[in-house]
Symmetry: C2
């Protein structure tokens, strides 16, 4: 805990791209910063699907928040979940802890999965939005293959059918990685199982994948996935999900016991505890300068904020969160010093998605779309660069090199729940 001080106290909720940017920008300024997260680590969300498909270790995409700010005396990390805010008193509640006072509060808690009310989705679908989701999905896939290996009749029940709902970057990347995992790795691991019968079905309600991308990229994605054996079902909506099947629009049924929901996000439901004005997708409505209206000391950035620029919402991408964090850090300093704040201007850095080995699409503003090997190399380099921590970069590079050279995937282990003391819910 920080020693008592007269420096203004900036509290940041969330250690994602946006929250870390705020901490980094304020590290050498005359303020104290506390970054609160429900995990003690930053999660590199763009590579979660590689943990789920046994390509990377869980720890490769996680980095201790305390380690990131070890050298910044004024930036502190705190583990916990925010349960309430008193904007007038400028205090907040974290779990059962003593209330925490703040001078400025930056909400950067990101998104959660949006099931859009599809029946059964919240019970039976797997989300892929946190490290425990990714480890859980990896376990599920390996368990299903083990079960089918013991009893091939389970294949008819959909034990080896993975349905991915949502044809955006996450759905495309996951589908491609699953197809390669089945075809290149599990086919060799399970020599007596007819792995040919394993299916990856990608369901998208629009008539194209990667709808925000240009036509050339969209075609490349569909072709590349189909070449890898992914069943791409366009213009198809999900009616309902049951424990052993998914029902598509029109009544068609696909037997599956593993459906991953990558079809949409909404704001982290934490907003409900924050007493803030919300708009589309439950996101926090903000002013031009990313301050929350009528919450004088409040700011919101990244996926949890609904930011409109030039009449269009700013996309929910890491660069937008980082840019928001940088601006809010500057605007907080401006407020403290009595200077006017600046409005948010989104600088579009482009967007990319990888389909699999030597296949990706990349779009940079005012340049032709890149598809194929070159886009794939660009994707690898950019993601290595964006990863936080030298050790994580080396580890990811080692795993990627291993996967590329051997067609193998290392960490395909079925990790049980970490054991806790028996007293966990008792006297301890």
């Amino acid at each position: 805990m920080a020693a008592p001080t007269k420096r203004p106290h900036v509290v940041v909720i969330g250690a994602g791209f946006g929250g870390l940017a705020v901490g980094r920008e304020l590290a050498d300024e005359p303020v104290d910063v506390t970054i609160i997260d429900r995990n003690n680590f930053h999660t590199f969300l763009p590579l979660l699907y590689q943990v789920a498909t046994s390509g990377l270790n869980a720890a490769d995409v996680a980095h201790s928040v305390r380690a990131i700010f070890q050298k910044s005396e004024r930036v502190h990390a705190r583990l916990g979940t925010v349960t309430g805010v008193d904007w007038d008193a400028r205090t907040m509640q974290i779990d059962e802890q003593e209330p925490l006072a703040f001078d400025h509060l930056v909400v950067a808690a990101g998104s959660a999965t949006n099931y859009f009310g599809v029946p059964g989705a919240d019970r039976f679908a797997f989300p892929l939005y946190a490290l425990d989701d990714a480890v859980g999905l990896r376990n599920r896939i390996l368990e299903q293959f083990e079960a089918a290996d013991r009893d091939h009749s389970l294949i008819d029940d959909g034990a080896l059918t993975l349905v991915v709902v949502g044809g955006g970057p996450t759905g495309v990347e996951l589908s491609g990685a699953l197809a390669e995992l089945f075809d290149r790795v599990l086919r060799r691991d399970f020599a007596h199982l007819p792995v040919d019968r394993a299916r990856v079905v990608l369901v998208e309600m629009e008539d194209s994948l990667l709808t925000p991308f240009r036509e050339r990229s969209r075609h490349h994605a569909i072709d590349a996935l189909r070449r890898r054996g992914v069943e791409v079902r366009l213009a198809t909506t999900v009616e309902s999900i049951e424990s052993d099947r998914v029902v598509l629009a029109g009544g068609e049924t696909v037997p599956t016991q593993t459906l991953i929901w990558a079809a949409g996000v909404r704001a982290n439901p934490l907003t409900e505890a924050l007493d803030v004005p919300t708009g589309p997708g439950g996101r926090i409505v903000v002013d031009d300068d990313l301050s929350i209206p009528d919450r004088e000391a409040g700011w919101a950035i990244g996926d949890i904020a609904h930011v409109v620029e030039g009449g269009r919402p700013v996309p929910q991408l890491a660069p937008a969160a980082i840019q928001g964090g940088e601006l809010v850090a500057a605007n907080i300093l401006a407020s403290i010093q009595g200077r006017p704040t600046r409005p948010f201007r989104y600088r579009d850095k482009g967007t990319m998605a990888t389909i699999g080995r030597r296949s990706a699409v990349a779009e940079i503003p005012r340049a032709p779309a890149l598809v194929g090997s070159l886009a794939w190399v660009a994707w690898l380099v950019l993601h290595l660069y964006m990863l936080i921590g030298f050790r994580n970069r080396v580890s990811v590079l080692v795993n990627w090199a291993w996967n590329y050279l051997t067609w193998d995937r290392g960490p395909r282990i079925l990790l049980r729940s970490p054991r806790t003391r028996h007293v966990q819910n008792g006297a301890g």
Copy 2:
């Protein structure tokens, strides 16, 4: 599942050092081999303590059993827990699965923690004998530091006091690694916490650590641990363990909420389901050739077997398990071909333990004991060599180099339980 065949079917329970040795030796012989384990991976037990102390990733010490035997058409892996054996019918029960027929059964299921009836131990002590133990202990340590950081008064209650019971190699290695973790890493992570007050207390009932080692090694271990700040308590027994303290012989109480039990092992309690004769520590009594008396098709190797040679029990070390696996593979082939079996002869390869950075002890038969840096380098090289899988070796090497060069530890992440579908205990 293997196609029907007339080759004899050898079933191995346990994918530890012994079980894998059986599989490797029989891979090119005219038999089918099935290796059953409760995990889908081999766990490299000698490095578990490094996972618990945030030095290595969980996946670094685990290797998929299917991957190990991917190129061996006749060796199969199977996930499950053996629940019973019918020696007359030569069938076994695995969970709820169909009974599995065998011609030879090799029991290689290793050890479990032995609490020797110390009150409270089975409820409140942390074992360190499986990957989920190690991840659970890592979580526990990080949680306790986070809690103490929020409320320093918890330090008085023992939140930062780790008690290790047992001064054998595991207890010594863990104590040294904990002291370095506290002093070098968590001290920097928790800049506002008086980490000086964190304690590592090593409790040993004998009047020396590493009792099977020579005197020079024992002295080195005690000195090196004390230099690192470990409180070494010799000739001290544990009376009882409660949720918030340990009571030592004589009534002295040490407040602690994290006590690790490294004081003894017994045979995996699986033996109870196997209907086999057991001896000291619940271990399976075997004949000279490692066959189980009166269980014609049964064999036992490694830590679960009570092997006596020249009137002395063979030590419970990886080399003994590997040598046992190699002999049993040969003896099974001899039985099948009607040749006589050979008795077990233990070749002592020596033993070693590491205390921390540039400090270890190593003893090789008929050679002077090595202590200090040279022993430490020997320890590193030997353990890298013994690790299974090139990727694991590279990853461990990267982590070790990182730790050595930066004094940092990478994967200090508090991993929650892998998320499962909500239906886990329901319809799914």
